[in-house]
Subunit: 345 residues, 2 copies
């Protein structure tokens, strides 16, 4: 949190008046738990008198707040959700807030039901993972003055919606460039849901890498999946049934890649000798499957942490440095890709 000079000198004044240290004043301002109740009350009063607490933050400190931050995510069935939740929890644990977690079970209907539920149960703010992206969808939150941050949105987000994502285009490009650098020319991709920008961007990065390398884009090599292992399994089978199958597969995510592994194994094919496979995410799964999965790491925990820190700023009525934050992806080389034999080129 950046503090102006004048804010800092006011905090020093408050600290002196309250007979506490400046860090203690800061802790009260940021709702940290380790402050004695009487001290907190005294400092809050001084903060308010000096105009350092305004708007929503004022309400919050006046104990009209619920003390609850909500997180809505697709479900307890993916390491992706779990890793983001981990980051969110790490930040919430340092505050006096509690984290309420709800699952949409991948259903737009349940997501909308949650939106109407949230109007009745007070919430200080919300983290929405893979939420439906049309701006009007968030109207219930706007109406009730509930600040929120979206992680990996679906659809189109307006420019005013705070959001956190990863450099998916770059990640898709890096994955494909890596396979090309190993000599692969027939590179297939199995996508995530086509409604999700994070998935669209990865495929766009894939196309860009092929084009830059002067390789033709084969439409049969772009297979629609949905991030599930099942879709990885089915689409790999479809790819293997082509007259000229690919020599490398870029899976939409690590969990989908486990389905790719199963399909290849079921046909008696070896990874990476018969097929190179690269994933996306770098969830723990990637480093426990055999062979260990080469993948594009997106920093899911960090995304959860950054989104939550942004949300705490909003709850405090503080401005955000940026409405859209993209964290960088990078290649993690393990054992599932290898150079293409000259004979197969």
């Amino acid at each position: 949190m950046k503090q102006s000079l004048s804010k800092r000198s006011t905090m020093a004044e408050i600290a002196a008046k309250a007979g506490v240290s400046i860090p203690t004043v800061s802790r009260v301002l940021h709702h940290r738990p380790d402050v004695a109740p009487e001290t907190r009350k005294r400092v809050e009063q001084l903060l308010e008198e000096h105009g350092l607490i305004q708007g929503r933050a004022k309400k919050l400190l006046r104990k009209e707040h619920s003390g609850i931050v909500d997180m809505l995510f697709p479900g307890f069935d993916s390491m992706y959700s779990f890793e983001i939740a981990r980051g969110v929890e790490e930040v919430i644990a340092r505050t006096d807030l509690r984290l309420a977690i709800s699952s949409t079970h991948h259903s737009t209907e349940l997501e909308q039901r949650w939106m109407s539920k949230i109007q009745k149960s007070p919430s200080d703010g919300a983290i929405l993972v893979l939420a439906h992206g049309e701006p009007r969808h968030f109207d219930p939150l706007h109406r009730h003055n509930i600040p929120f941050v979206v992680v990996d949105h679906g659809g189109e987000l307006g420019p005013d919606t705070p959001s956190v994502g990863a450099t998916n285009w770059l990640g898709g490009r890096t994955a494909t460039e890596y396979l090309i650098s190993l000599g692969h020319r027939r590179v297939a991709v199995i996508t995530g849901p086509t409604t999700l920008p994070c998935s669209q961007d990865r495929v766009a990065g894939y196309r860009s890498a092929l084009e830059t390398a002067g390789l033709q884009i084969n439409p049969a090599f772009i297979c629609l999946g949905d991030f599930s292992p099942d879709s990885g399994y089915e689409q790999t089978n479809a790819l293997l049934d082509l007259p000229e199958p690919p020599t490398a597969i870029f899976a939409g995510c690590d969990e989908q890649a486990t389905g790719v592994y199963s399909a290849l194994r079921a046909r008696g094919l070896n990874i990476p000798d018969d097929m190179s496979v690269i994933g996306f995410d770098d969830v723990p799964t990637a480093s426990i499957i055999t062979p260990n999965l080469t993948t594009i790491r997106q920093p899911l925990r960090e995304m959860g942490r950054v989104a939550t820190t942004m949300l705490l700023h909003l709850i405090n009525g503080e401005p955000l440095d940026s409405m859209r934050v993209e964290l960088t992806t990078h290649l993690v080389v393990r054992d599932s890709c290898r150079p293409l034999d000259d004979a197969k080129r």
Copy 2:
């Protein structure tokens, strides 16, 4: 929920008076979301007049409730916690309650801090996973009349503490019997934390199986671990350094077993040809590692569901059929164990 005949006939009477169906009355009684607000109010009033809502449930329906059920678990770092949370969420999603999740990060201190936090922030009830088990530890919850159910407790639970677990002793026995049935005579176990009854019980089951088979218990074959992959890795190395290493390892849990796999692989040993490995839990990890892990399934999602259903009864002021529920474990045979060659016996 069991209903006496008289309760059912009262509900029929209320349904008639309110001009709604009996299932609607039941939905109001059990806080299901799909009831129109005016209908809910009318039915609640009638339920109260007829004495069908009492005590805590009465308070709850009078909207003095927070609408929050808390879950405290060790951390977002294990599939074990995740699977239980999944079951809890499935039940909560069918109610108008929200689920607040906090992590102890495996720290007794953070657990105690949560206990003091909960006194300030109202909670309708709590699910405590692997909570510290001394009865006095739960005093803050008792004092504030917050009902709770413990899943897989640590320490000694009093007989009055509602809890859910699995048949850990039977599971440990089944795992060991299976290895013995494959001809293994030198069977080692890597334990979980020794403070946890679930872990102690598995080791007791291991001992029992060896004794029943007339095999000697070798103290060097009982290695202290803590459920982490690291402890699986370290203890496997210790076992392999013995003058006479085991031919089979019973890992404390599936995630620990991934560390056993890594240690064996680092020494160039093949699973199951050179060493049979069996796990415990049957989390998704078990069926994605190679070779797929033979394990003892404990129904973690079901445990979460059962604990939450018990908690909802308590919140409603209804008696429990049983204070302690143990769900059954069973053997899931996959590819990580094989009969011992005659030469090695």
